[in-house]
């Protein structure tokens, strides 16, 4: 049997610096000066790239569209709207109104919804420590699908424009809360595995009810499907409707980036570092679900953004949630603005549902990501 024998005295080998004192905070050392300055900070290059991508795609989406307006004039008009700038764009008042009342809010709503879904997806992925978690994992989509179907079926087209968003929001929040309650009852202690299973159960139950309701009202099928496949053409009303919830949920998610990093080393280690694991998980789940519900309320069930965007960000900018969350927010916005641009121009004057476009880009990408992560996992 091999026997390790203990060196009799610390020899002056390369481990020698071990004897040195740890410098107290405030004291300087050689090591400190060599510390990577921004190791955990927001990577500046990816952040500015994402911002540039967002601005460029918003500009492209404002310049192009079904209505035949010269991009040059539109650009002048946009400049004219900037503070302290006054230009004559040569756009007719009707065109100007169209730009302001249709295109501008549509681009903004796409950016907000895309940002919310991507950020919520990153939050869910942190909570479940699984890069394949998505914002609809816990029943938000099925809940919203059910309540919206019910709203469409029972209101038969009358009722205010607020009915669908409010129903969708309530359904999404309700679905998540139901899954959370069920998960806690089934697996006391709030482990993530039972929570995911509860989400699966809630999703299939609510979807079954929704399908049943839909079958009883085949004449509303068209409206139900067009809601499910997504639409960001809701106008300024919907932008203002979603803004406060978007703001609150995004601020909370961004604040919790570092704690999600702590959580990523496992429940035991995180708890041994003094973290209240269950509470962090709950707060992030609530914020991410609020973001999801508000996005769903004004846009329907747009898929893939929540998985695809954080994944790309992780590959390009590293895995720290302090980077993944903010860059997903910006990148998700850009992605959905582009998707919407494609949706409304490819077969103009008709429109593709935006969910079809994101899925068309997202599905092949998803398969590629699965293949790549399989190589890493095993």
């Amino acid at each position: 049997m091999t026997r390790l024998s203990r060196p009799s005295a610390p020899s002056g080998d390369k481990d020698a610096p071990v004897g040195g004192e740890i410098v107290p905070p405030g004291g300087r050392s050689v090591a400190a000066r060599r510390a990577p300055r921004r190791a955990a900070g927001l990577g500046l290059a990816p952040a500015s790239a994402a911002c540039f991508f967002l601005l460029a795609s918003m500009l492209a989406a404002l310049l192009a569209g079904a209505a035949d307006m010269a991009p040059g004039k539109v650009a002048l008009q946009l400049l004219d709207w900037l503070p302290f700038v006054s230009l004559d764009s040569g756009l007719a008042p009707v065109e100007r109104a169209l730009l302001f009342e249709l295109r501008l809010p549509r681009v903004l709503l796409a950016a907000i919804v895309g940002g919310l879904l991507a950020c919520a997806g990153a939050g869910y992925q942190g909570v479940f420590r699984n890069p394949l978690a998505d914002p609809y994992l816990l029943g938000a989509a099925a809940g919203a699908g059910l309540t919206t179907t019910a709203a469409i079926v029972f209101m038969k087209g009358d009722g205010s424009a607020l009915v669908v968003p409010v129903a969708a929001f309530a359904g999404a929040v309700g679905g998540v809360l139901l899954a959370y309650a069920l998960g806690n009852v089934a697996g006391r202690g709030g482990g993530t595995a039972t929570l995911v299973l509860a989400g699966v159960a809630v999703t299939s139950f609510l979807s079954a009810v929704q399908t049943f309701l839909q079958q009883l009202n085949v004449e509303e099928l068209q409206r139900i499907y067009s809601w499910i496949l997504g639409n960001v053409g809701g106008g300024w009303d919907q932008v203002w409707l979603v803004a406060p919830y978007a703001l609150v949920s995004v601020v909370v998610l961004l604040l919790y980036g570092r704690l999600l990093d702590v959580l990523s080393v496992g429940d035991d280690e995180a708890a041994s570092l003094g973290l209240d694991v269950a509470r962090v998980r709950l707060v992030v789940l609530l914020a991410a679900s609020l973001a999801t519900a508000s996005a769903v309320a004004v846009s329907g069930l747009i898929g893939f953004v929540g998985i695809v965007v954080p994944h790309v960000v992780r590959r390009l900018a590293g895995g720290s949630y302090r980077v993944v969350l903010p860059i997903s927010l910006v990148g998700g916005g850009a992605f959905l603005v582009l998707a919407d641009l494609i949706a409304r121009t490819v077969i103009a004057p008709a429109e593709l549902p935006i969910g079809v476009v994101t899925a068309f880009v997202g599905a092949p990408f998803f398969v590629a990501v699965l293949r790549l992560t399989r190589r890493v996992d095993t």
């Binding site: 203990r6 004897g19 708890a271």
Partner: protein, 257 residues
């Protein structure tokens, strides 16, 4: 230097009483090795000490019951490295080690320059400075073990709880890691509690040993008192010969039946 006392500790997992009536003390700056067969409850004991499991009885550090402390205060006293740490593959070594500063960073705040300096100096002491910006997924087993140790050390806690710090390490790395812990202990006066499967190795480094079996303490004392042919034969179901090595420390040799 912090003294650890455990009084009448009992842990129930599910419906099973895994540990009961465990009492021991580790003097400040001492090294206690916890040994025992697979499933004896060594990891459970360490997790209970770290406050990660519901338990009855008392754990005191310098006379202060840990129960009375908030989690963050406790994390400044005890650093814990699990048997199988989860290392996010795309996190960098520096960022991972920096997580050890969590008990000092305001809940929703960010780390200070001081936190970065402590992290950098710990990495330097563990010879890891050149790895600082490497991803954890791109490290060898021995490098990982050192990185986990670095994470525990940036916590600057006076008590180190290490669960199998040498699993899956080759001979050289086992020695390297244990020497490292020993020197840190001597330099900074850390109190160390480790579980170790290699009994001879445990006997060479520890000041005192505790044998866990049958849900409690089967024996405790100096390595020479615990590592006897009779106790090992009974509790590990192994046939061994114990020889006396350098400095009176016992060496355990497996015998072929």
């Amino acid at each position: 230097m912090s003294r650890v006392e455990v009084r009448d500790l009992a842990v129930v997992l599910g419906t099973r009483t895994v540990l009961s009536g465990v009492d021991f003390e580790v003097g400040g700056g001492d090294w206690l090795a916890v040994i025992g067969a697979n499933g004896a409850g060594k990891s459970t004991l360490l997790r209970a000490l770290a406050g990660l499991l519901p338990h009855s009885g008392e754990v005191l550090v310098d006379g202060v019951p840990l129960r009375r402390l908030k989690p963050r205060q406790r994390a400044r006293l005890l650093a814990y490295a699990p048997q199988t740490p989860a290392l996010p593959a795309d996190m960098t070594v520096f960022d991972y080690a920096l997580l050890g500063r969590t008990p000092y960073i305001p809940h929703l705040g960010r780390e200070s320059r001081g936190d970065r300096e402590v992290t950098a100096s710990v990495l330097e002491r563990l010879d890891l400075s050149s790895f600082a910006s490497r991803a954890l997924g791109h490290l060898s087993g021995g490098e990982r073990q050192r990185v986990v140790l670095a994470r525990a050390l940036t916590q600057q806690a006076p008590v180190l709880l290490l669960d199998e710090p040498t699993t899956a390490l080759d001979l050289g790395h086992q020695q390297h890691v244990l020497e490292l812990v020993d020197r840190l202990r001597l330099a900074d006066g850390l109190t160390v509690v480790t579980t170790l499967h290699d009994l001879s190795l445990a006997g060479q480094y520890a000041d005192s040993m505790m044998l866990v079996a049958g849900g409690g303490t089967a024996a405790s004392g100096t390595p020479a008192e615990v590592l006897t042919e009779e106790l090992i034969g009974r509790h590990f179901d192994a046939r061994v010969r114990v020889a006396t090595g350098v400095a009176g420390r016992p060496e355990v040799h497996l015998e072929r039946p």
